[in-house]
């Protein structure tokens, strides 16, 4: 795959791995050294969801980059939700997948940071997973708090990969994922010696609101990856807008595919 001088490619990629993860998730690994090397954590691809026989919905589906980097397979980890993701999950090694990307604005890691905290729930961890390795590569320590229904849904291995991130888990099944409990955990971290230089989140409106509130209180910068239904994925159709607070305090509609999917934590409005 040669990007031919253009930052975004429409590429026909070979599937090298396709496997279910847990009860409701699926992972795909694609062979595309150039696209994988060009991808940044927080960016996404727009995938044409066609099963091996060419069947699937008309529009593409946006999917965060779960694995990327020089020498790595390009990977996606997703919740098998409807017609599009079902077609993706039906792909087998050797099948082809049309991918448009890399797209959007990824996470930003600032040079001075030594420590970040990641708060993820559900499939939001797919979006945040590549941030762990990018941070590790810059010498930034990653502490992650993952929330899941039950231990079987956690996907901690899928999250941390080889990044060496510290992972703490909370569950609905034992009540540890309740907002007050998570708030206590976060306050302890923010007040303790491992206070992070920045926080990142994705995957839960409840946790987003909590983190936004606490990060403001403690004066910690943050970023959030948002989702929105997409048409073009490229910034042309304006169907993927979300309300974002502008610098002047007013609220503007920004395109998740173009200005996002990663936005400033304090600027994002709840959905």
């Amino acid at each position: 795959m040669d990007l031919g001088g253009f930052p975004v490619a429409e590429a026909d990629l070979a599937v090298v791995d396709s496997a279910p993860v847990g009860r409701r998730y699926h992972r795909l690994l694609l062979d595309s050294p150039a696209l994988s090397a060009a991808s940044r954590p927080g960016q996404f691809f727009h995938l044409l969801c066609r099963d091996g026989g060419g069947n699937g919905p008309y529009l593409r589906r946006p999917m965060s980059i779960w694995r990327c980097g020089a020498g790595q397979r390009l990977g996606f980890l997703f919740h098998v939700k409807g017609r599009g993701t079902a077609a993706l999950a039906a792909l087998r090694p050797g099948d082809r997948l049309s991918a448009v990307g890399p797209l959007g604005q990824g996470f930003r890691l600032e040079p001075g940071w030594r420590r970040i905290l990641i708060l993820a729930r559900g499939v939001g961890l797919a979006t945040l997973a590549p941030l762990t390795e990018a941070a590790a590569a810059q010498g930034i320590t990653v502490q992650a708090l993952l929330s899941a229904q039950a231990p079987g849904d956690l996907m901690a291995a899928e999250f941390a990969g080889a990044s060496g991130a510290t992972v703490q888990a909370v569950f609905d099944s034992d009540g540890s994922s309740a907002v007050p409990a998570v708030e206590a955990l976060l306050r302890a971290t923010f007040e303790g010696p491992a206070r992070p230089d920045a926080v990142f989140t994705c995957g839960s409106n409840r946790l987003f609101l909590l983190l936004q509130r606490l990060a403001a209180e403690y004066g910690i910068p943050g970023q959030i990856a948002l989702e929105q239904q997409m048409g073009c994925g490229l910034g042309m159709c304006f169907c993927c807008v979300r309300q974002i607070r502008a610098a002047d305090g007013g609220v503007v509609n920004l395109r998740v595919c173009a200005e996002g999917p990663v936005f400033d934590l304090q600027a994002a409005l709840a959905w």
């Binding site: 008309y58 529009l59 042309m236 304006f238």
Partner: protein, 309 residues
């Protein structure tokens, strides 16, 4: 070598393939060289700032999409002073799609665009079904369509394309009316009104209720509209609606179009525009057509088809 150039009224295009308004932006330059296109067409510009419609703004159907984006935008002044800077980076003629609520507003905006360097033509979007109540639009009736075009014609000397609506009883009559009112070309067609319902939530799938229907499922209707208009007027017809492949583009040319626009297909394949262009040239070469313009109208009633074919 196939001669791909076409003339649309006073405007010479290097080739007949261009994007459809509202499905295109300078962002597509991330994927291929936009200077390959016959023309560039902006999303519709409105006199004032518009926020756009409620979400969801798009939903998919069988081989198509419904949209009710609602023409969000920062307005004409921002367009002429800020956005044009970005458009001037490209070499193909820039066609500015213009939408307005009144005849006077159309005329004022046309005058302003004519005074803006770098605008090659105006495409008057007199057919957007989302603007007026219940989807009504200027292009629904010959009289209102002609009024808008005549006012713009009087207000500016730019090439003026009228983008017509499928939501009319007799598109040929509308095409004749805008031709008489001074349009240099008709663009056929905008989206047709459609609806989809979420049966679990029991509400329309689009936030705004009804929306404009486009994509491959819409193609047979758009092709028929082109065919009707091509038989009704002498000005060029630009075909749009469901074009996704070179064969689709050939159908539109044979139905009487002089050029084509590709819209929704770019969402599914952002390289659809150059693929249509390359395939069109290949078709001409294979079938021995020296000029792409030779295809125009070949399938119209009473046309003699080249014996060699």
């Amino acid at each position: 070598m196939v001669d791909l150039s076409v003339r649309i009224g006073g405007l010479a295009l290097a080739n007949p393939v261009m994007p459809a308004s509202g499905t295109f932006g300078p962002e597509l330059a991330q994927v291929f060289d936009l200077n390959r296109l016959g023309a560039l067409v902006t999303k519709s510009v409105t006199p004032q700032y518009r926020q756009g419609n409620a979400l969801p703004r798009l939903c998919e159907t069988e081989a198509g999409v419904l949209n009710s984006i609602g023409i969000p935008g920062k307005g004409l002044d921002h367009f002429c002073t800020q956005a044009m800077a970005e458009w001037r980076r490209f070499t193909p003629p820039l066609v500015v799609s213009l939408s307005a609520d009144t005849v006077a507003a159309f005329a004022d905006a046309a005058a302003r665009l004519a005074a803006t360097p770098g605008v090659a033509a105006i495409e008057a979007n007199i057919s957007c079904p989302n603007l007026e109540e219940d989807g009504r639009a200027f292009a629904m009736h010959p009289e209102s369509a002609a009024a808008a075009i005549a006012a713009m014609r009087a207000a500016c000397a730019l090439p003026l394309w009228a983008k017509l609506s499928p939501n009319t009883a007799d598109i040929a009559a509308v095409a004749r009316a805008v031709e008489e009112a001074g349009a240099d070309a008709v663009v056929v067609a905008n989206t047709i009104l459609g609806l989809a319902i979420d049966i679990e939530r029991m509400v329309p799938k689009l936030g705004a209720g009804m929306g404009g229907f486009s994509g491959p499922a819409f193609k047979p209707i758009a092709l028929r509209l082109v065919w009707q208009c091509a038989q009704a007027v002498r000005i060029p017809v630009i075909g749009v609606g469901g074009i996704a492949t070179p064969a689709d583009a050939v159908e539109f040319l044979m139905a009487g179009a002089s050029a084509v626009q590709v819209g929704t297909a770019s969402f599914v394949s952002p390289t659809a525009l150059p693929a249509v262009l390359d395939g069109l040239a290949a078709f001409c070469a294979r079938r021995g057509f020296a000029r792409v313009s030779d295809l125009t109208g070949l399938a119209l009633p009473g046309r003699l088809r080249p014996a060699a074919e």
